[in-house]
Amino acid sequence: MIRTQGLTRHFNGRAAVDDLDLEIGRGEVFGFLGPNGAGKTTTVRLLCCLIAPTRGRAWVNGFEVGVDSDAIRASVGILTETPGLYDRLSAERNLDIFARLYGMSASEREAQIKRYLQMLDLWEKRREPVGTFSKGMRQKVALARALLHEPPVLFLDEPTAGLDPEVAKTVRDFIAELRGEGRTIFLCTHNLDEAERLCNRIAVLRTRLIAVDTPESLRRRLFGRRTVVRVRNLAPEMVRAVAGLPFVQHVSQEGAQLVVDLGDPEEQNPALVNCLVGLGAEVQFVTELRHSLEEVYLTLLEEEKPA
């Protein structure tokens, strides 16, 4: 649905996006992570044909960027960093104008505006000027605007930035609903929890692509898989015995806990626990040590830090 090949964009001789290769499938929610200035917004602008690449190629929904720009614009929806609404106009009029720009008929416009304003709990306020709306309400109107023409590809640039937790959750839930509709969603975000919850795969960018995979695979790649066993009567011989098990890659003791690196915890945890119980260990908890996506993200950025 979205494909880029060596996509590069320079500004004044400096690369904002460098040699980006991506392949995003239909119906995928793709998280695009990176620090400020990493090139996330530039990538969205390139893929929406708002700016031209310096080199490289890209395809969106089967259309090539720079060749079929009108077709791409007609088949994508974009939620920009700021809502960019017309404050003096009502929510309904804001949406109607954009629906007309997408060539929708009067009946389609009416139905779609009603559908999305109802879904986002704004129907009762449809005739009020958006200038009187809260930040969250404005963001919802902008989200509805991006969806009116039912684009198969949706670009969301920081959709929950600056929203209060309640509204942010509403927006996130709404995006989760969209995921079920088979749309491809390209989600730029700083919110790693949001990326974890919503995205099938994530990419980490700092001008160049640092990594792209599912959050779970990135976690495994960076940290392996670890099992934490809490033992009431943990003794040094138990630690030595666990270290001697053939499938244990590494073991460390943290107070009453053993942290054990394993290749396949689902298969190896029972043997690990049997070994400990056999030595008289009173096992209190056995859990998987999950590294947060934040740790994954920061580790990736740290590894790629320029010398």
Partner: protein, 259 residues
């Protein structure tokens, strides 16, 4: 459809912003009242003294008229010039703000992400800025002619309703107005400060004002043929300036460099 959508949006914003709306339509209406008041006092003067005096010499082409009529026609020509000039001057500030305004409201990026083409955007913005003052000028001219019919002699009224003046107000003035707003839109899309855009737009009005002055002082005689040729030239200039406006519109620069 896209052009119409943008025009509707612009007009709705203008109507909802009363200070902008009245700035576009009030001046022609106020001038109409002032001009009619002047005609009224001229009429009182003619009734009181039997004639009108002028400090300026009567131009040769008015030599055949009664002195009072000649003086009134001379002054009327100046009045009518305002109906020609108002649609050119009034919308230029709206036009100069058209692109910068969208950028400042952060609405330009979502707008440019739609299938709207550059020419559609610029043309729609220009039409939206030009039409309210054009209509205001037409209405004012009509009201002026109606009011004048009660205040001046049939000879002077014939001058107000001379086909050359009617065609100037109805055709030439809107074409000049479009020219001025296209220039305003160019300035708006090339400068990132609304004040600079307004100043530069106003500079480009000077040739149009010069042409108007030349008509007023009889340097250019307003025959129907002159008008027709003038209208054709201005229409071509409109198309050329719109073409340049589209060429000069750098969406990348506007999106990525303006702050």
């Amino acid at each position: 459809m896209r052009v119409r959508a943008i025009i509707d949006k612009e007009w709705e914003e203008i109507v909802r912003n009363r200070s902008v709306f009245w700035s576009l339509v009030l001046l022609p209406l106020v001038l109409t009242v002032i001009f009619l008041a002047i005609l009224f006092f001229m009429r009182l003067e003619v009734q009181r003294t039997g004639s009108l005096r002028s400090n300026s010499p009567i131009p040769a082409h008015l030599a055949g008229y009664r002195p009072a009529d000649a003086v009134q026609i001379m002054i009327l020509n100046q009045f009518l010039m305002y109906f020609l000039m108002a649609p050119m001057a009034l919308p230029i500030y709206v036009a100069a703000h058209s692109i910068i305004g969208e950028k400042q409201a952060r609405s330009l990026e979502p707008l440019l992400a739609t299938p709207v083409r550059t020419w559609e955007l610029l043309f729609a913005k220009s039409v939206a800025a030009a039409v309210p003052p054009i209509i205001a000028a037409w209405v004012s001219y009509g009201l002026f002619a109606l009011g004048a019919s009660f205040l001046v002699s049939p000879v002077v009224l014939a001058e107000i309703l001379h086909p050359a003046w009617v065609l100037s107000v109805v055709i030439l003035s809107p074409l000049f107005a479009m020219l001025s707003v296209f220039v305003g839109v160019i300035a708006s899309s090339r400068m990132n400060d609304p004040r600079a855009a307004q100043q530069w737009s106003a500079v480009f009005l000077v040739p149009a004002i010069a042409a108007g002055m030349a008509m007023m002082f009889g340097v250019i005689r307003m025959s129907l043929l002159t008008l027709l040729l003038g209208a054709i030239v201005v229409a071509i200039a409109d198309a050329v300036v719109l073409w340049f406006a589209v060429r000069l519109f750098q969406r990348e620069v506007i999106l990525t460099r303006w702050r």
